[in-house]
Symmetry: D2
Subunit: 387 residues, 4 copies
């Protein structure tokens, strides 16, 4: 399959058949016509990798049985055939070796979250990214929503005053029963420490919550106090976490992440309370942002309007009332990475609104957060410092 003129060439590691997130990455990459999937090693099982690549229409010569083969061959291609970016959408344990190797070979990388298993790995990867100067994005996709960017802008404009308190929650129920014992692939690796890492719900969704807080508020965690639980018998990792937060600014907070909260689907939500106003955003109805100035009527900011901040406008595609949702937010990461890659290729400086994606630093911070929560949960000390 030859490439279309002007489209960026994308390779993918992981994301074969039965993988939820691989298909999401592909839809997101495709939505704006910026990327064309031209190569891949879609599974750790060679046969499955090849089969998946065929189903996806990838040319035989670039459909690899393993990521090592892919790296080996793709790095030697001439500049005009070379991949513009590689998406790493494997289970967590492969993020580090795969991302590290591709970055080291000079490839731009889009890696799923959480970035890696340990902060040592994270620091190492970050230093290699810095050394090689490649583009590196972590798909904290929820901060790709236009109204999250609007929230960040309103905080920066001082509309909330000084932030006193943050309540962030990520409530799900898909692991309320022992789905990993019933053949659900998504559940299997996410509850397996060798693949998922030291954390279950904390890593899978708690890190999204942390990223949401950090992205919108810009606050830095100082100390946390965590209570994590494994409610489902036989499960090897946490499926529920309640965490008290203290920020360096003196702000306080609560973070809740749960995969056993019966009846909840994908209930990521954040409330931020400042000295002047409060702000609420709810992922399941993402086109609205609720702004509550003290003593004035509550206001509902809605996606698509001219009154929004430039970075919110840059993240939308269609008019008000024509709802955008999860895929568009995810695609915003890909679109921003495309802008960044093209700008670098052309020696330009992209506008900050257009090249807005979660960086390796966000990924490193996420890994540290996960480690801190697990450490706090094991500690009898009330407060554990967040590095």
């Amino acid at each position: 399959m030859p490439e279309r003129n002007g489209m960026l060439k994308l390779g993918m590691v992981g994301g074969g058949k039965d993988a939820f997130i691989g298909a999401v990455h592909r839809s997101a990459a495709r939505l704006d016509g910026e990327f064309q999937l031209v190569a891949g090693a879609f599974s750790s099982t060679p046969e499955k990798a090849i089969e998946s690549g065929r189903e996806l229409g990838v040319t035989e010569t670039r459909n690899y049985p393993s990521w090592e083969d892919m790296l080996e061959r793709e790095r030697r291609l001439p500049a005009d055939e070379r991949l513009d970016a590689v998406s790493v959408v494997t289970p967590n344990h492969m993020h580090y070796p795969v991302s590290r190797a591709f970055v080291d070979a000079g490839f731009n990388v889009i890696c799923d979250k959480p970035l890696v298993h340990t902060s040592q790995q994270a620091d190492d990867l970050a230093s290699i990214v810095r050394a090689r100067g490649t583009v590196f994005a972590v798909t904290y996709n929820y901060t790709g929503y236009p109204m999250v960017r609007q929230a960040r802008c309103m905080v920066q404009q001082g509309l909330l005053g000084d932030i006193r308190k943050v309540i962030v929650e990520y409530n799900q129920d898909w692991l309320a029963n022992r789905a990993e014992a019933e053949g659900l692939k998504q559940a299997e690796w996410r509850t397996d420490p060798t693949r998922s890492g030291i954390a279950g719900a904390v890593g899978d969704i708690g890190s999204h919550a942390e990223n949401l807080v950090s992205t919108i508020t810009g606050l830095t965690l100082s100390h946390i106090c965590a209570d994590i639980t494994t409610f489902v018998n036989g499960r090897l990792l946490d499926d529920d976490a309640n965490v008290l937060l203290r920020f360096t600014s003196g702000a306080k907070g609560v973070l809740v992440a749960s995969q056993i909260s019966a009846g909840e689907e994908n209930d990521l939500r954040i409330r931020i309370y400042g000295t002047r106003a409060g702000l609420t955003w709810i992922q399941e109805n993402p086109n609205y942002l609720y702004y509550k100035p003290i003593g004035e009527p509550e206001q509902i900011y809605k996606r698509g309007h001219s009154y929004l901040c430039p970075e919110a406008k840059a993240a939308q595609r269609i008019p008000p009332g024509h709802p955008e949702a999860f895929l568009e937010a995810f695609a915003n990461i890909y679109r921003a990475v495309a802008v960044e890659i093209r700008a670098r290729q052309e020696g330009r400086e992209p506008s900050p609104e257009e090249s807005d994606f979660p960086s390796i630093e966000a990924g490193v911070r996420g890994v540290r957060f996960i480690e801190s929560v697990i450490a706090s949960a094991k500690s009898s000390e009330k407060w554990s410092a967040v590095r």
Copy 2:
């Protein structure tokens, strides 16, 4: 003012001019035509007490300058003139001496929350109530809502399975600024330790949240871990609290109480997650209860329908879609107390649905909860036991 045949005779201590909660108690007492206000000592300032009583139309001979005068005279009245109940709606510090004295004299008492300042006082008061056998209600008014009673019933019926997690919140913003320095009476005494007690937001609203959890779930707190804050400069008590909860059953939870959460009005809400289903209730839109069985459509139970439990039905007055609200819930406490008093006067056993009100034991538990939160907040130990 002579009494109407058949109406119970109510006296009131506190609740004079400028008092918010006194007027609420009177409306609640009046709503169902069960009580007639015939006596009172409406303020700690004698002139203000008398003036308030006149405005309320209380007969001069029963309009007292002090609660001690009221007690002294009312206790000597013949049985057919005697007060059927006394409402204690003073600032917190007077709950103990006033309630104790009236109970000791054999009066039935309806006391505002939190019951008293210390658990010693609470235990003492409870033992006197038991000794004298009087009716004693604590106005944890929010558990008077029909849909809270429906929630309790559904938990008891096992519709949620085993409860794993509870998130209860009470978010307000009326103390986001230093209202106590601007002449707001309600703020003044609530932020004054000599009148409010050891806790601010924790006592004023956190105890409502505790009562809501306890009433609906029947769970018993084992340990808590609290972080409380005074965000407003110059304030003497906490205005924000975040608390991790552990129950004796193994269930976990989070309790949030805040009076600085900008843009929130009176946002008491609870979410309960069991092995089978979740349940959500929100005080500001109280006629609905959201039931979320795993893998099935969410259901909205609505006040007034024949499919509700008997105790929910017993707590309502008008048909579906004709919303009931705060006053009716509050009045349910008074109506239930009236049923209990009449039953005792007539030697009957009232039905549990009709005589459903928060008992002295709920009040005692609330005081212990407040003490535990303050103790935990001061402790460097992660977990503090709840007695």
Copy 3:
């Protein structure tokens, strides 16, 4: 039962056992302590009337077997014993004779809606009210809500610009089945032309919708085009109506009233669209008013705040977030009537905010509206004039 000093003496015609609306009137009258029920003829069946009066605690001498007896005796009482007002809460067909007789005897009257059966009766009653100068209120209770008054104020302030369009709906389902054949009293008389009048749903709830439009917008209907239906077999009156509206100003609209809309409880709602902004209010969640200026964030006005108009503030009792509902809105009619009566008794002019209740003129307009809808429904002409 002697009267309490300072309370207004209320008599009631109708509203005995099994009557929904009589109990609502009594609760509304009682809520603010302004009225004391001292006399009544509570049923057209003498035995039931007397029995109901006894249950309500009315003194034997003022507990009448018929409204004629009540009128006969009460009119002769000395001034200081005389009723300050009479509530007429019978089925519709008795509104005219009872109200007319009591007004003619100089009594102030609070009459349920629709006012009477025909516009001739309405005009006659109105002229008698004017001639006798008595206070006359029609319990279009939904316009007693604080946020309806806020809506009216915002229209008057020009915040909507010129009104172009109104959509008003009143959707219920309690007559989706033939409840009148199953012994439901409320259904029986409402579906009986001899008691209910020429209209079913149109009269029972359509007239509330008309009053809501007229109260908030001040617009005058010019022409209507109605399609009414009786969906339930055997029913004698309409149970569903869809009506196109044209106002004299050039504004257009739609009015829907239905008692067969499955799953709807008491869904009265209005949307108003002007050249500058839209406005939405929904009775089932009545503490909020949604204001939508073109090109700006939607705003949610909430009951209890200092930013509201004086007439909205005058209609509330408790702080924001402590929801008020149906009974309080109904009680606002009674409280305003009390203010008006006392002002007249004392020769004062009451403030417009405090004496704000639906007048006999609103009642007359409602009857004309009902007649117009029925006439249009029978006509093959597209547009029928509204007188």
Copy 4:
């Protein structure tokens, strides 16, 4: 640009720069990787057409200055290079000549709504489609939503009983001011009778509302009574319509379509009331369907769950709580057309769930509806028959 193996080859007429709906069609076509845009005549202005094609990356040889050129050359291409489908996304007046010509040449066509200007054109086009046996889809995109398909299924399963009443609305405000005089392209042609046709709001959005009713309920309109208005001075077509509906089954209804409803964005919503239950769906929050059986708790059906009907499941991509929205619904039309085209190419019969798209018959019905509304609006007869 060579084509990717396995992707269907798509051509497009219209949809150049500044066109909203062309970009939506392209995103929708791209989302699932089924179509590749390989040819186009993107504007009626040749220079603009070519420039748009270049920006879209279309190969020079298939980037046409006019649709006639495109047709002329594309029809002569060998079978393996031929377009699998042509999207017609011009202003309305070109739908007929362009669609007719391409169908006549044997191309499959995806045409925007409303289908054509007159029912004669519609009938003519339909007969050609039947004669040529091509695939023809009309992008009534809102019926592509999974929960609309769930609604249709639930009606068919009898969960609502017999339908009595339908209320469908489509409220917008983007034409509340004279946007067509301010250079807004979308407004210009939509308010120009030579391009838009005889109707403004009625054609642009009223026909979506009609399609929604027809798709979900399967009911057939018998008679209508319409009141249409042009509120904005100088505008040449209607910007507001209120229509009473009568169905052949005896069901009644109301249809509202407005582009001057201040504060509304894209508020398409439908309520359906049957003898057993009601059903509500709201486009702006499209992942939920509200099912209200009489006398039981309301139920919220949510996208992504196993309890949904097969046709709803076939229309979704990602798990519950990961919201899908406008683009995915639109893409469902394209995906279904792709399934249909491939099935025909391979001589298979596709499953009805997978090849579910609005047909030419739906388009014909939509044109008839528009004509009927305009005819009724001009008539002094109350009821106009719908052919």
